[in-house]
């Protein structure tokens, strides 16, 4: 398979595959050693690229498609199926806000309004300063400490409006680690 064939149906939308980094390739190859076929690694590769790039661009998706010989349409079908594969750029920090039933009973709607007001965005949007993307997430499995949300890899529990303000300030101050939305 080559890039021209894949993207040749409309020159105006032609996408050039991105060169996968050495680190990305090494990690994808490690996954290839764990699964009996290449197709199973498609999802793994999307996760790996997202870890390094912050999101999965068309160029990245095409690069994975070529590398693993999975048709881009199939890979796109997988990428868009799963909630946590980002096909659009996200902010420096991603907030996964639990809005499932236990958190709802414990008042997560008012927390959500507070968060939306502070950030000036709703679910699915990124704050204008590029700091935060706000996404809903199914039950985070911390229901005895509801309401809860995750910011990047950290869980924040028993949320209150004051606590949320403190959390946002903390992440705003955090120096950029270079692995979320800013490429390698």
């Amino acid at each position: 398979m080559n890039a021209d064939l894949i993207a040749s149906d409309n020159s105006s939308t032609r996408v050039t595959p991105r060169q996968l980094s050495a680190a990305e390739i090494a990690e994808i190859e490690h996954e290839l050693s764990l699964y009996p076929d290449k197709r199973a690694v498609g999802l793994e590769a999307l996760k790996i690229v997202q870890k390094h790039q912050g999101w999965v661009s068309d160029e990245s998706l095409l690069a994975i498609s070529l590398f693993l010989e999975i048709p881009p349409s199939e890979l796109e079908g997988v990428a868009t199926f799963f909630n946590l594969v980002f096909r659009r750029p996200v902010g420096r920090h991603v907030i996964l806000f639990c809005n499932s039933v236990s958190c709802w009973v414990m008042g997560c709607d008012s927390m959500r309004r507070h968060l939306a007001e502070r950030l000036g965005i709703d679910f699915g949007e990124t704050s204008s300063d590029g700091e935060f993307t706000l996404l809903p997430v199914p039950c985070l499995g911390d229901c005895d400490r509801a309401p809860v949300m995750m910011v990047d890899e950290d869980q924040h529990r028993n949320l209150t409006a004051e606590k949320i303000d403190g959390i946002l300030a903390q992440y705003r101050q955090e120096p950029d680690m270079g692995n979320n939305g800013n490429g390698d």
């Binding site: 764990l34 699964y35 009996p36 076929d37 197709r39 199973a40 690694v41 498609g42 999802l43 793994e44 999307l46 996760k47 999975i70 079908g77 997988v78 199926f81 799963f82 909630n83 946590l84 594969v85 996964l96 809005n99 499932s100 039933v101 236990s102 709802w104 009973v105 414990m106 809903p136 997430v137 199914p138 039950c139 985070l140 499995g141 911390d142 229901c143 005895d144 400490r145 509801a146 995750m150 890899e153 950290d154 869980q155």
Partner: protein
Amino acid sequence: MDKPLTRNIDMSRPPLEIAQYQAVGGYESIRTIARGMSPADVLQQVKDSGLKGRGGAGFPTGLKWSFVPMGDDAPKDKYLVVNADEMEPGTFKDRLLMEGDPHLLLEGMIIAAYTIQASKAFIFLRGEYIQSEKALKKAIGEAYDEGLLGRDILGTGFDLDIVLHTSVGRYICGEETALLNALEGKRANPRAKPPFPQVSGLWGKPTIVNNVETLCNLPGIISHGVDWYQGLGKGIDFGTKLFGVSGRVNSPGCWELPFGTSIREVIEEHAGGMQDGFQLKAFLPGGGSTDFLLPDHLDLALDYDVIGKAGSRLATGTMILLDDKTCPVGMIGNLMHFFSHESCGWCTPCRDGLPWIDQIFSDLEDGKGSTGDLAILEEHLDYLGPGRTFCALAPGAMAPLGSGLKHFREEFEAHISGKCCPYRQH
């Protein structure tokens, strides 16, 4: 009381490392097997124990395993898959086991894999469970170093490799055939059954999918025997189970208790009872896909059949409480929105029915509901009920909806006649 699932768990410190775990009897079951138990012996012991799956369905574990082809004619490649994709609304039990005592899960996996003679196992872990991932990664490394994973485990001639797979969302991955598709790198749509995964599962090979808590029961069963295991329960079902409570109680949490414990004991003693100013109105006994039970049911024993006869399901054993200050219609609406969002879109009743229901709840909330809406909701109970859809997602969603329409009719009608949510005044 013996607490075989949580005896090593103390969340104020890191989980036990392998040496500490072995010092308190950890991996003893694998040594017992190495001293001369055949896979058939282990299968018989698990069957005799009466262990039922803890993922929600409560299917007997030994029986599930017994469908896997064994012997010389059986396919060489077989798989064990751990369903660690905990995402049922209101469920927070597997997280505790993985973060608190990861070696217990690995020990259970070795037993299960040995029984079906699968030399490769996958842990399908929810990607958001970062702490679980870290704990399991470390434990897997330690088990390899100790010779409890890899080639020829403790001289049994049995090999086992474990791959930790972190997922990227979607509730439907908890359905075992959808999970297998996800593991194969495909969209997580459920598969038609038969063939059942025990015969043709991951990459067409015999596969067992077991829940985390189910597997954590195995080390005790093998190390201490069936009599000990059956002595743990105080009701109909055998062993202990993690039971949880969330909602407006004083001390929400998750506890290991014997089957047969009353619901009242869990809510009033372990969870410390309702908070001041709140009364219990109803509860979902085992996660978001179960029927509402009422305060009248508080003295029921937590056993699969007892809860089943009361019209609900024990399912995950994690209860979600509805109090008198919270709108039942709003609570059910929240669940319907969840199920609608998480439908995989594969079959029509689920893909089209759940968003329709979700929209009706949104209208009810906005004061735009009409009496005809309740009839439409009633119709969906049938259209999306058991046997009408490809998998159990939509029928699961109909459980709180159907029981809610029955118990909270007045509240539904008040939304329509008052053209708003009556609870919003409070």
